[in-house]
C-alpha cells in the first residue's frame, strides 16, 4: 500500500473529528473530536516518515514529532477535562450551546 492510502485514512479521521467537534452537543464529544484530529495528524506524520525518499534509517523526525503531539495531547486532555469539570460545577451543564457567558 502506498502513501496515499494512509493519507486517505488520515483525512477521513480528520473529517470525522471535525464533524464531532462541530456537531455534537456535549463538551466531552468536543474533546474526543480533538483527539481524533490529533491522531489523524499523527498518522500523516508517521506515514510521511515511513515513505521518506531514501528510507527511514536514521531519520525518525516524523515519529519524534508524533511523540511530541502525544505529549501535548496528554497535557491538553488533562487540562481540558479539568476545565470541563469546572464548567460543570459552575453552569451545571456541559452543553456548549448553553455556555454563552462570553457573549457580552
Amino acid at each position: 500500500m502506498g502513501l496515499s492510502a494512509y493519507l486517505t485514512v488520515g483525512a477521513l479521521l480528520f473529517l470525522i473529528g471535525l464533524v464531532m467537534v462541530a456537531a455534537r452537543r456535549n463538551l466531552i464529544y468536543v474533546l474526543m473530536g480533538l483527539e481524533l484530529i490529533l491522531n489523524a495528524a499523527n498518522l500523516n506524520l508517521v506515514a510521511f516518515n515511513r515513505f521518506r525518499p531514501g528510507g527511514m534509517e536514521g531519520h525518525l523526525d516524523g515519529q519524534i514529532g508524533a511523540i511530541f503531539v502525544i505529549i501535548l495531547a496528554a497535557a491538553e486532555a488533562a487540562i481540558a477535562l479539568a476545565i470541563v469539570l469546572n464548567v460543570h460545577s459552575l453552569f451545571e451543564t456541559i452543553r456548549p450551546d448553553d455556555i454563552d457567558a462570553m457573549k457580552d
Partner: protein, 716 residues
C-alpha cells in the same frame, strides 16, 4: 621562649655579615601565603562572626580570639625568621618573588601612566616587628575581652568589630603602597567609630556620651584623613605612583634633579600626608578625640592606644620620612615635641584613671613623632613597639582595676588596691617603671634613644628652633614619671577611700594572663638583659631593634653620637628621678599637699585641668563655624536655590496649563473620535460573537478553507 628567640636573633644579627644566612634560604616560596594569612585570618573570623556569631557557643568569642592567636603565631614565627637573617637592609621583595596584583582604573590595555597601579606585600624589618607586635597585642586584648566584656548585650558584635580592627591594622602594616594603606586606614577609622560607640547601642542602658565620643573621634580623624588623601593625590599627580619604594626613588631623583633643593609643593605634600598621622595619632591640634575615646570599653582603649589606630599614624610618619623635606621634618618634630609636653601637663591634673592613660598616650605618641621628625626613625618605631606593650598592659591593668572596682573609674575613689589585686599591681607597676624611663625596663632604652636623637639633630643643625624638641622631651619625661607614679600611688597605695575599692577583687585568669605577658614584655621588650646582665644598663650592645633597623640618615659622626647619648641618658635619668621623687613627696609620703599647690597656681591649674579648653575652643570655632556655615548654606538654599526652583516650577506650570488646553481640545478630540469609531466598529462586529464555541469552530474551519484556497489555487 620568645626572649630566647630574641636573644638568638640578636646574636644572629651580629654574625649576619659572617654567617650570611641569606634571606632567600630562610624564606620559602610559601612565605607570601603565610604573610597574607596574618590579616586574612581575622578577616575570615570577622565574616563568620558577623554572620553566625550569635548562634555559636559563647557567642563565638573564641573565633576571633583563635584567629588572632593563629595570626600572632604566624607573625612571630616570621619575625623570628627575620631576626635570624639579621640584615638591616632586609626586604622580602628582594629576597624572594612576592606576588603582585595589578589593578586598572580604566582600560586594561593601557598599562602606562595613570591607567593602573600595582599592589604587593611590604615585609621588611620594620613591618616584621610591628606585624608581630600588633598580632600579639591584639590577641592578648581579645583574650582579655573574653573576661572583661562578659555580660555585654552586644558581646558577639564587639568581637567581630575587634577582629575587623585587627585585620585592618595587620593589612595596613604589610601594604606596600599608599592607596591600600589608606583603604585599611579608613577601615580602622570605621572600626574606631563602631567600638568607641559600642556602649551607646547597649540594649539596657545606652550611653549617650559614647555616641558623642565616637562621632567626635570619627570627625576629628576625618580632617586628618582628608589631608592625607590630598597629600597622596599630590604625590600621585606628580610621580604617577603610590608605591612606597617607587615614591622614595621618585622624590630622591626629583630633589637631586632640582639641585638638592626641595620644592615648596613637596614640603606641602609631605605636611599634608603628615596631617593624616596627626589625626590618627592624636597629635596637637587634632588630639581632642583620644581622651573622649575612653568612653569605649577598656579593651577598645587598649586596642586603639597600643596595637592599632594611633600606631598607624606613627607607622605612616615613619614610612613618609624619606618624602619629608627638612622643613617638613622640623614641623613634624615640633608638633611631636609640643604634643609630648602639652599632653603630659594635662595628665597631671586628671582624676579618671583612663583619662590619665589617654593623655599619657598622646604624650608618648608625641615622643615617637618627634623622634621621626628629628631623623630617628628607628628610635621612634622602637618606642612605638615598647610603648605598645607597656601601654596595652597599663590599659588592660586599668580595665582590670575598673572591673575589680565595679566600674568605678575615679582614682579618688580608689586606693590600697595593692593587696587585693597583686597581679594587676605587679604588671602595672612594671609598665609604669617602663613608661617612666627607669633603667632596665623597655621604655628606658627607647625613650633614651629618642632624646639622644633629638639632641644629635640639634647639634647637627645648630639652630635654636631645632634644639626645642630636646628640651621639650626631657621636660615631658619628668612630667611623665610624675603623673604615672601619681596614678600608681593613688590607685594602689594608701587606704581604700571608698566603698568600691574596699570590696575590690582580683580578675579571672583570662584577664590577668594578658597582663602578665604584656608586663614581661615591658621588662624585656627593650633589651633582653636577663640573658646579658653585665651590660644591662649601658654600654655593650645596642638594643636589638636598633641593630635591626637603621636610620636613613646619620646627622653626626660616631663621637658626636656618643656624646649625645651620654648627655641624653643623664638628662632623662635625672628627669625620671625628679618626677618619681615629686610623685612620692606628693602622694606617697604626703609631705606636700597637691590641693595647696593647685590652689597656688589657681588659674593655670584650672586651665590645665580643663585641657587648655581646646574642646571649648573647637566648639566655639570649628564646630560653631561649621554650624554657622551650614545655617548660611541653608539660608542660601532656601532663598536662592528654592527661589530658582519655585520660579522654574511656575513657568513649568504655565506651560502645563497651555499644554492642558491643547490636550483637551485637540488631542482629546482625536482620541474621542478614535474611541467612538472603535465602539461603532465593535457594535457591528459583536454580532459574530455569539459565545458558542462550536460556531467559532465553524468560523475557524471556514478561515482554514479560505487560506487553503488562497494557497492551492493562487487566488491572490
Amino acid at each position: 621562649m620568645l626572649a630566647l628567640a630574641l636573644q638568638h636573633g640578636a646574636e644572629a644579627a651580629g654574625h649576619a655579615a659572617v654567617a650570611g644566612a641569606s634571606a632567600a634560604e630562610v624564606f620559602g616560596p610559601s612565605t607570601a601565603a603565610w604573610l597574607l594569612a596574618v590579616p586574612l585570618l581575622p578577616l575570615a573570623a570577622w565574616v563568620l562572626q558577623v554572620c553566625f556569631g550569635r548562634f555559636l557557643p559563647r557567642q563565638g568569642d573564641w573565633l576571633p580570639t583563635g584567629a588572632l592567636a593563629a595570626a600572632a603565631v604566624i607573625a612571630i614565627w616570621h619575625f623570628v625568621k627575620v631576626l635570624s637573617v639579621g640584615d638591616p637592609d632586609f626586604a622580602l621583595a628582594e629576597a624572594i618573588d612576592l606576588p603582585r596584583w595589578k589593578f586598572f582604573f580604566s582600560d586594561p590595555g593601557l598599562t602606562e601612566g595613570l591607567a593602573g597601579f600595582t599592589a604587593g606585600i611590604l615585609y621588611d624589618n620594620v613591618s616584621a616587628a610591628i606585624l608581630a607586635m600588633v598580632a600579639l597585642v591584639s590577641f592578648l586584648i581579645h583574650l582579655f575581652s573574653t573576661g572583661y566584656m562578659q555580660g555585654d548585650s552586644r558581646y558577639n558584635l564587639f568581637f567581630s568589630n575587634l577582629a575587623l580592627f585587627s585585620f585592618a591594622m595587620l593589612a595596613l602594616v604589610i601594604s606596600d603602597n599608599l592607596l591600600f594603606f589608606f583603604v585599611f586606614w579608613e577601615i580602622m577609622g570605621l572600626c574606631s567609630y563602631l567600638l568607641i560607640g559600642h556602649l551607646a547601642a547597649d540594649k539596657e542602658k545606652p550611653k549617650m556620651s559614647a555616641a558623642w565620643a565616637s562621632m567626635k573621634a570619627f570627625m576629628t580623624t576625618r580632617i586628618g584623613d582628608i589631608c592625607l588623601f590630598i597629600g597622596m593625590m599630590m604625590m600621585f599627580q606628580a610621580f604617577g605612583t603610590l608605591s612606597f619604594s617607587e615614591l622614595y626613588q621618585a622624590v630622591e631623583s626629583h630633589v637631586a634633579g632640582n639641585g638638592g633643593e626641595w620644592s615648596p609643593w613637596l614640603t606641602g605634600a609631605g605636611v599634608m600626608m603628615f596631617l593624616g598621622a596627626v589625626g590618627k595619632s592624636a597629635q596637637f591640634p587634632l588630639h581632642v578625640w583620644l581622651p573622649d575615646a575612653m568612653e569605649g570599653p577598656t579593651p577598645v582603649s587598649a586596642m586603639i592606644h597600643a596595637a592599632t589606630m594611633v600606631s598607624a599614624g606613627v607607622y605612616l610618619t615613619a614610612r613618609l620620612y624619606l618624602m619629608l623635606s627638612p622643613t617638613a621634618q622640623l614641623i613634624v618634630a615640633i608638633v611631636g615635641g609640643f604634643t609630648a609636653i602639652f599632653a603630659a601637663t594635662i595628665g597631671i591634673t586628671q582624676y579618671d584613671i583612663k583619662k590619665v592613660l589617654a593623655w599619657s598616650t598622646i604624650s608618648q605618641l608625641g615622643y615617637m613623632i618627634c623622634a621621626i621628625g628629628a631623623g630617628g626613625v628607628a628610635a621612634g618605631l622602637f618606642h612605638l613597639l615598647t610603648h605598645a606593650f607597656f601601654k596595652a598592659c597599663l590599659f588592660l591593668g586599668s580595665g582590670s582595676v575598673i572591673h575589680g572596682c565595679h566600674h568605678e573609674q575615679d582614682m579618688r575613689q580608689m586606693g590600697g588596691l595593692r593587696k587585693k589585686m597583686p597581679l594587676t599591681y605587679l604588671s602595672m607597676l612594671v609598665s609604669t617603671l617602663a613608661i617612666s624611663g627607669v633603667p632596665l625596663f623597655a621604655g628606658y632604652y627607647s625613650k633614651d634613644t629618642i632624646i639622644a636623637k633629638t639632641l644629635e639633630r640639634s647639634m647637627a643643625e645648630g639652630s635654636l628652633v631645632w634644639s626645642l624638641p630636646f628640651y621639650l622631651l626631657v621636660a615631658a619625661a619628668a612630667i611623665t614619671a610624675f603623673y604615672m607614679f601619681r596614678l600608681i600611688f593613688m590607685t594602689f597605695h594608701g587606704k581604700p577611700r571608698a566603698h568600691c575599692s574596699e570590696h575590690a577583687h582580683e580578675s579571672p585568669w583570662n584577664m590577668t594572663l594578658p597582663l602578665l605577658v604584656l608586663g614581661a614584655f615591658a621588662v624585656l621588650g627593650g633589651k633582653v638583659w636577663l640573658l646579658d646582665p653585665l651590660h644591662a644598663v649601658s654600654g655593650g650592645q645596642e638594643p636589638w631593634f636598633l641593630r635591626l633597623v637603621h636610620d636613613p640618615h646619620q646627622f653626626v659622626d660616631h663621637a658626636g653620637a656618643h656624646h649625645a647619648h651620654v648627655t641624653a641618658m643623664s638628662a632623662s635619668l635625672a628627669a625620671a628621678a625628679a618626677g618619681i621623687l615629686f610623685a612620692c613627696l606628693f602622694y606617697l609620703w604626703k609631705r606636700l599637699d597637691p590641693a595647696r599647690v593647685a590652689a597656688a597656681f589657681g588659674g593655670v591649674y584650672r586651665l590645665v585641668y580643663d585641657k587648655y579648653r581646646f574642646d571649648e575652643l573647637y566648639l566655639a570655632t570649628a564646630v560653631r563655624g561649621t554650624m554657622i556655615l551650614s545655617a548660611f548654606a541653608a539660608w542660601v538654599d532656601k532663598t536662592f536655590v528654592d527661589g530658582v526652583v519655585n520660579n522654574v516650577g511656575r513657568v513649568m506650570r504655565g506651560l502645563g496649563d497651555a499644554s492642558a488646553a491643547t490636550d483637551l481640545h485637540v488631542v482629546d478630540g482625536a482620541v474621542n473620535f478614535v474611541g467612538e469609531a472603535t465602539v461603532a466598529a465593535g457594535q457591528t462586529v459583536r454580532r459574530f460573537q455569539t459565545g458558542r464555541i462550536q460556531q467559532y469552530a465553524y468560523f475557524t474551519f471556514a478561515g482554514a478553507v479560505v487560506l487553503a484556497a488562497v494557497v492551492l489555487f493562487r487566488v491572490i
